[in-house]
Assembly symmetry: C2
Homo-oligomer: 397 residues x 2
């Protein structure tokens, strides 16, 4: 199931030099299938946000059909995905007009890339550039549904003004929103309400455009939390989600997944002890784990990550309590009644990330393994931890 | 002064696609000279910690003599620096014995690389490996001076036990400590006391070794804050410091530098506005700025970075108040009496980082410019912002 040319049969999670990023491909496959099945049942397409994986190999695994839609957060991702044959892309960050030549170049190559904007200034810059080059770029208007980031309100008069600017070349493809506030939810009721608000706001904006005589074929919504708690997707054409393919401690804290669904971890080695302080020192600091503290505001603060053994089983009470660049300090969570375990120098551990997008971004590649696949073959532990592929990550902008 | 083969004369900070990392080489040169002059006057060598720059080009600029000592935080840095001719290295993270083969390989190439440890277990693993291969690796024992991270106390009986384990092959080269708590200081008196404690602790450990009959030729101390506030370096052979070459908002908050000394910034573009919220949206999120919030505990909280115009002059009251992956939200600092300025879409800004090591780590290269050099030539603003070189960064472990 994993490209054979990348197979490195002699390496396992027990012998690649630490720290490194380990990807449990079976968990990823399960997470991908879970959301696809859910959205399929609700009648909406999924447009995965590939900013989380930033990998051609992972993208090919997530999207069997390269003409099915994908979302990107940088033009670098778009360019690398386009070179690999993906040809239906949405660049979901408000467009800086000086980046339009790179968008044009992709469209000239036959890539159907759409862009996002929320101002008349941007709309005018886009139509001017399209008129000048005679290359049309489809546009989504960003709608705000919860005051989280950019976008205009669904009933803002600017919505129709922007649409009118785009009309001469019929650049308007649709509307897009993102329930960023869903990351602050922690009950199913709140998440369901948040998902319905995201849906209803996007649909209302599309209706306002329709009523004024504009075409609005695409209604794109999404965040990983709302995507999993949507009860109804009426009027929505597609749902975007990114971190759902890996999941992480923030998603587990919100209640979107279980700890055991988390597919991404950082493998690290014990390099010292401070018995007087109750610390176990590891060779994964913020350079390997990231500085993300997304669980700090949640009910369970996971520090800089939850500590598991090399097989991926959490060790009771243990978190990475603090980090410097290349050092991590493992300690017991303050409310833990567990004992600090004896972990000798050289012991390998796996750290589950607060935020998979941020932890992934600290690394240049994934070491992919398949514990479940091996289990079926009743393999030894070493074989279960065999690295089946190394997938490079896309870097830069 | 900058390698001509890397010159890209047509690019300036105004036209490289944002976000990107800009390095003011004149400020870096000044910062490097400042500490070198200070330590020279106090009679100690400097061993720059190249974990901050992670760049061969920057290392060559900092260290004219490639046999002068340098510090690294990963074996990847050591290997890349060795390939470029640097041959006097200290790997300043407690050794994981499984990494010894890579250290041996460097020593076989003629690189004088030393390692760090703080346990009998590690010392035994090192001497066993050296005995087996007949390649000796010099060892520094890590000493704790302020309870910040790893290391043993200067009077811990383990100090002599570790030295005794290393004695048969005379592997002991010295002692090392790091006043990590100096980052929490904010008065000159505290910093001077912290520096003296760091010095005195390392010297005490060396004396304990001498008294017991062990050689301890190297006494290595250092952190950027203490290095700048040392009043006396008696008994110290070398001082390590890393972030001083760039400086950052955390260092300015501690009082080690001024805002105008900061050599590193992220160039970004305005991509939207939320007048209702008082936000200006930019295309630099945590992917470009990092998640580091090191100023959150300081007197002045700089959010995710201080906002400057493209010439590098701070805009009163403006910080990056929040970030998502590829979005930054500029807002006024809560205590600011300034007005939110009108910054049109497309406006370029420069964001000064909380922590230069962390922000640098988010990027694959530096765009190097020389504003001061251009000023002398009374160049136009465009020429002042000309990119004179692109320096790649070392990635991974």
């Amino acid at each position: 199931m994993i490209s054979p040319q990348l197979t490195l049969p002699r390496q396992t999670l027990a012998d690649v030099d630490t720290p490194f990023l380990a990807l449990d491909i079976d968990k990823m496959d399960k997470n991908v299938a879970r959301l696809a099945n859910k959205l399929n049942a609700l009648g909406a397409a999924i447009r995965p946000h590939l900013k989380t994986v930033k990998s051609i190999d992972a993208s090919e695994r997530i999207l069997a059909n390269k003409s099915a839609g994908a979302t990107v957060s940088t033009l670098k991702e778009a360019e690398e995905l386009a070179a690999a044959g993906f040809n239906n892309l949405l660049y979901a960050v408000g467009i800086d007009p000086s980046k339009l030549p790179r968008v044009m170049a992709l469209r000239r190559q036959g890539v159907d890339i759409a862009i996002l904007l929320d101002s008349e200034h941007q709309a005018q810059a886009v139509i001017d550039a399209c008129t000048e080059t005679d290359i049309d770029i489809p546009v989504l208007i960003e709608i705000d549904c919860d005051g989280h980031r950019g976008g205009i309100l669904a009933d803002d008069p600017k919505l129709l003004q922007i649409a009118a600017i785009l009309e001469p070349r019929q650049l308007l493809r649709g509307v897009l929103n993102h329930a960023g506030e869903s990351y602050s939810c922690d009950s199913p009721q709140d998440l369901i309400a948040c998902a319905e608000n995201e849906r209803a706001t996007a649909v209302a904006a599309a209706k306002n455009l329709h009523k004024a005589g504009f075409n609005c074929p695409m209604v794109s919504i999404g965040s990983s939390p709302t995507a999993h708690f949507s009860a109804n997707l009426k009027g929505v054409t597609e749902v975007r989600a990114g971190v759902y393919v890996f999941f992480d401690l923030v998603m587990a804290g919100i209640g979107v997944c279980q700890i055991e669904d988390i597919a991404l971890s950082v493998v690290t080695t014990v390099i010292g002890h401070r018995e007087d302080k109750g610390w176990i020192m590891i060779d994964a600091g913020w350079m390997a784990l990231s500085r993300d503290r997304g669980t700090a505001r949640q009910k369970i603060d996971q520090g800089y990550g939850l500590v598991c053994d090399l097989a991926g089983v959490p060790i009771p009470g243990l978190i990475v309590g603090d980090v410097s660049q290349e050092h991590g300090q493992i300690s017991l969570r303050t409310d833990s009644t567990a004992q600090l375990p004896q972990l000798k120098i050289g012991t390998r551990l796996r750290i589950l990330p607060n935020h998979a997008c941020a932890t992934g971004a600290q690394h240049s590649q994934y070491h992919v393994f398949s514990a479940a696949q091996s289990e079926q073959k009743t393999d030894s532990e070493t074989q279960q931890l065999a690295v089946q592929a190394v997938w490079p990550r896309i870097k830069g902008w």
